[in-house]
């Protein structure tokens, strides 16, 4: 499908004509790249001959930093990698250390973790929704999405104390208990969103200009998804029903009743639809956790100085962008011997140069937006 499209869009007569080719730098400071990502584009007029992402502008040696800090001190750094889904990263790290040390987590803490993580997932999808449509040239949806996102941030701020870079989960539990005000606020939000999501579809999904800009643009074939290691909505937009919450269930996800949305076409529109359906599924999960919130302690007893036994462990969680895997090696001391992050954005970016080839520049920006990249996560 992709190659036939390429042939159709290329102006075959001028390809390789050195006179008309030129190099265009997209970024590192460009609003369309959502961060310090630089893409060197080899252009033929409006068409892209090749696109090479250049990484490293925001590299902070997160893996090396983790080798110099104790297990507890690494926790605040988690939120700095993917600042839009800090709680998923929190969860990956605490679950990993709990796995290594064999700590128990109280049921109530698990419920609070899932409730807050799913709220965080929705807020991340809202930001992506606004930014993606901003890339396509629509400004109003951005404001709509941010209005609803603000409700989540306010809600999470009352519980965690911060708005974006949460450091809320603790080994063996969570940092603070939810009260009836928070649960009511979350339930109100779910009720509000159930009715309000229709206006998103009215405003954007049904819009003819939006459909023309996204349909059959940036098609990812199912064959490529595994080759490039794609995960998350990018993978599910190409018809693969893969979600870590389903395949390698963690926390209380196996007990909850939710669907994994899948679209078959693999274009930008499919990825858009998958994310909007995921918002609805997250609302379902939130409602179930509020209804089933058990009483009890929120933290189990955990030693102050954490020294996991010698060995290694991996932990995968589903962030809004895809599968995050953390691998850690312990040598029995209080500092990790080695930490490796497998981040979803990095893998998802790798297919960009293939997708951008032969596209119009404006379509390439739509493709880049539909991948939902967080550059500090790519560079870390």
């Amino acid at each position: 499908m992709f190659d036939s499209q390429t042939a159709a869009t290329y102006n075959l007569e001028t390809v390789g004509d050195q006179e008309n080719d030129f190099i265009l730098n997209l970024g590192p400071q460009h609003p369309g790249t959502h961060g310090v990502l630089r893409v060197v584009l080899h252009m033929d007029g409006e068409y892209i001959l090749s696109a090479d992402p250049v990484l490293g502008y925001g590299h902070r040696m997160q893996e090396k930093i983790a080798e110099t800090l104790t297990y507890t001190q690494v926790l605040p750094y988690m939120a700095r990698m993917d600042y839009l889904s800090a709680l998923s990263y929190n969860q990956a790290w605490v679950c990993l250390v709990e796995k290594m040390c064999g700590y128990e987590v109280p049921r109530r803490a698990e419920y609070i973790r899932v409730l807050t993580t799913e709220l965080n997932r929705i807020s991340s999808h809202f930001l992506w929704f606004g930014a993606f449509l901003l890339d396509l040239g629509a400004f109003t949806p951005f404001l709509h999405a941010f209005e609803d996102r603000e409700k989540i941030l306010d809600l999470l701020e009352t519980l965690t104390g911060s708005r974006l870079t949460y450091c809320f989960f603790r080994f063996g539990g969570v940092g603070a208990d939810v009260d009836s005000v928070f649960l009511k606020g979350a339930q109100d939000f779910v009720d509000h969103m159930r009715s309000h999501l229709a206006s998103y579809h009215d405003l954007v999904t049904g819009n003819v200009i939006f459909q023309e800009r996204t349909r059959d643009v940036g098609v990812i074939l199912p064959f490529d998804t595994w080759g490039y290691g794609l995960t998350g909505p990018v993978l599910r937009g190409s018809g693969e029903k893969y979600d870590v919450r389903l395949r390698e269930p963690y926390s209380i996800y196996p007990e909850l009743d939710f669907e994994i949305p899948v679209e078959q076409t693999g274009d930008c529109l499919a990825r858009y639809l998958v994310r909007l359906q995921e918002i609805e599924e997250s609302l379902n999960i939130i409602e179930q956790t509020i209804a089933g919130m058990p009483e009890g302690p929120i933290r189990s007893k955990v030693p102050k100085i954490i020294k996991p036994p010698e060995g290694e462990a991996t932990m995968s969680v589903e962030t809004p962008r895809g599968e995050l895997m953390i691998y850690a090696v312990s040598d029995g001391s209080k500092i990790p011997y080695r930490v490796k992050y497998r981040v979803p954005s990095f893998a998802n970016l790798s297919i960009f140069s293939k997708m951008a080839k032969g596209q119009l520049l404006a379509d390439a920006l739509a493709v880049l937006g539909s991948l939902d990249l967080v550059i500090p996560e790519v560079d870390r």
């Binding site: 605040p76 306010d154 450091c167 940092g175 206006s199 009215d202 954007v204 819009n207 003819v208």
Partner: protein, 155 residues
């Protein structure tokens, strides 16, 4: 004009009008912004501002026993504590408590690690300035009374 072209225009116009309806209805609703500084936003109870020392209720001295647990817990080494025993006292008291707020990430590990609950988060959110020094060297002891008045005057 061919027929599908006219149909495209009709569907396009319909989708445009549906979208405009959403925009217009939203236009009539109330705004969501808070016009700071003319009106203040509500600060939630759990708000994490920079850390501050908790004073003892009876004498106003800092509760801190200068054990240094917070400084060791900090992932970015932004707390520096020095302490000494005042004459006749059983526990140590801080003589120096400096926070480098420029590197603080507000994670709260210091607050959690404190064995005597002597550190809390302030609720001061209007933290902006033109100079580095007030943030790079935040003297947290200046808000609480100290038994080391003479030494403090030298700093």
């Amino acid at each position: 004009m061919n027929r599908s072209y006219a149909k495209d225009i009709a569907t396009g116009l319909a989708s445009l009008l549906t979208g405009m309806k959403v925009t217009m209805t939203t236009m009539l609703t109330k705004g969501h912004t808070v016009e700071w500084p003319r009106e203040a936003a509500q600060v939630p109870l759990m708000f994490r501002g920079h850390i501050q020392l908790v004073a003892n209720k009876d004498n106003g001295f800092a509760k801190c026993i200068a054990c240094g647990a917070c400084a060791r817990a900090c992932p970015s080494n932004c707390i520096e504590v020095k302490g000494a025993k005042p004459e006749g006292a059983k526990k140590k008291s801080p003589t120096f408590f400096m926070l480098d707020f420029t590197t603080c990430s507000l994670c709260g590990l210091c607050v959690e690690s404190c064995p005597v609950v002597a550190i809390t988060f302030s609720r001061d959110y209007a933290l902006a300035g033109f100079e580095l020094q007030p943030f790079a060297g935040m003297d947290l002891l200046k808000d609480v009374a100290s038994p080391f008045v003479e030494e403090r005057n030298d700093i």
